[in-house]
């Protein structure tokens, strides 16, 4: 069993908000001129990370199934004169890099995860195993309706960030991975986000041998 305690939680739940509206709403959080190249995912993650003040000695674990889908599709549309900005922006984990580069904030350990059914399981495992005094676990998706009904993007946008530490004092809750006899399990990122947003407990298998328990104090 491995566990850490939640000491801070931030979330963005813009649902169907378009990127231009997100940029207008959040622009004041970023250095002047920085948001012109930022994606919706970068803006949302910047908003949730800002109050947590990531530091170099933190471990940062990031989870996203679709990543920079808007930049990806816009980059494809730029061919044959491929856009270097969109190429750069489309590469996972660009959203976090957009935020931290704008703030010139180095971080020693940074683990960007992809996947879907076991994405939360493995991201949480990485966060709970990180030896740093504080780990920031964050994630999200941006909203885009890609052409051709390709299933290559999320229809809703959201983002979350939580700070985890070993100290139980003044904690909001506890995040734990227990051993489980169950041979299978899954938890999608959107479901995890909803539980955090609504302060709902979780207790379910999330991967072979892993049971995730989220409790609130």
């Amino acid at each position: 069993m491995i566990e850490r305690h939640l000491h801070a939680l931030q979330f963005e739940d813009p649902g169907l908000e378009e990127t231009a509206a997100t940029r207008e709403r959040l622009r004041a959080l970023f250095p002047r001129g920085a948001t012109r190249r930022m994606t919706q995912l970068g803006l949302l993650l910047g908003s949730v990370l800002d109050p947590l003040h990531p530091a170099e000695e933190d471990a940062l674990v990031y989870a996203s199934s679709f990543g920079e889908s808007r930049a990806l599709h816009d980059y494809l549309a730029s061919f044959p004169t491929a856009s270097p900005t969109l190429f750069q922006t489309s590469i996972h984990p660009s959203a976090i890099q957009q935020v931290l580069v704008a703030r010139q904030q180095p971080v020693r350990e940074f683990f960007p995860f992809g996947g879907r059914a076991q994405l939360v399981a493995h991201a949480v495992e990485a966060a709970l195993l990180a030896p740093s005094p504080r780990t920031i676990l964050c994630g999200g998706e941006e909203r885009i309706l890609p052409p051709g009904d390709s299933g290559t993007a999320s229809p809703v946008g959201f983002a979350f960030a939580l700070a985890l530490g070993a100290d139980r004092a003044a904690a909001l809750g506890t995040l734990r991975l227990e051993e489980s006899p169950a041979p299978a399990g899954e938890l999608a990122l959107a479901e995890f986000f909803a539980a955090l947003r609504d302060r709902r407990p979780l207790d379910q298998p999330v991967a072979p041998g892993m049971r995730l328990v989220l409790t609130w104090l």
Binding site: H92, G114, P208
Partner: protein, 362 residues
Amino acid sequence: MPIEAADCRTPFGDARATCDALRAGRRALTLQPVLGEAGGDAVPLATLPGRRLDETAPPAWLSCLDGLAGAVPAAPWGDARHPVFVTSSNFGVGSLYAFSRDQDRRHLEFCTPFALVEGLRRRFGWGGNVAVLSHACVSAHLGLRQASRVLQAGRAERALVFTFDFISPFVAGGFHALKILNPELPAPYAVRPTGSIGLGDGAAFAVLGRNGAGFSLSAQTLHNEMHHFTANRAGGAGFAAALEPVAAAARGRRVWLKGHGTGTLDAGRLEAEAFARQFPGAPLVSWKGALGHTLGSCGLVELALALAAVRGGEAPGTVGSAPPCFVDTVATAPFATRDYDGVVLASNAFGGAHAACLLTHD
């Protein structure tokens, strides 16, 4: 962390065949149109034999991964005690590019990282304990780091790290737009007026955890500058931050160095100088002048090659480079490995990401 097994696939074949080719000074890179069927400037690319740059449905590289997966030591991979860590920078983005051009929906099952990995999981008979990590050109190092951490915590008996990156017009077009994929073959660490990288197909695996047969990952470090997407902090502070802990772990050992060395000028100089400061006199090589940059897979492809080099008693030199170089410790010719008992391997990525490890052997 003991390394039980490792191998790779490049256009030259497995690790042993690739190492032999590198020792002979051969290049897999040839000048090809950057956009494949759509043409464009001729740039250095290295694809698997018979594979075109444009993706087919299903992808032509699947058979390569079949062969690689078949070489992995048998275990109930993907169950609770045998996790798999799949790492890549681009996954099936070549299929997404192809779909955007021809609307053939057979590409879709390869287009997203999660769909592609789920398909591979079923294809190779792995269980559901498959993690997906992606951080550009340090992806494979992250897989090794996280796999090691899970093992050290007693949460697994053995761990499989499986990595791949296959080039496409999507990727080649992007690097060409960044003006670093140019019509000259790369010469890592060499002093020249303009720099150029090459891109190559690559895949590899490593099994960690049990009997290491004499090889271990004795130190692993990470650092992320977050200074700029495509440039490092002046003075090489980011490189130093990643290499200093490895240098401390290597104290008392005689090591040679496998750098990132893509063929760019600024980063190449900073990296070479950082290595020379931390490991005075240690020979430095990069094999990307021959194989191209295999992107997310490079950390593990090149680890497998380093293992093959040590087993074979001779490390390939930096193919494609000749003096003058940024530092005089760049080894442009093969050299014997018998006098060394360790290798420092490093990779770097966009955003100023750095990863380094120390491979030790008896």
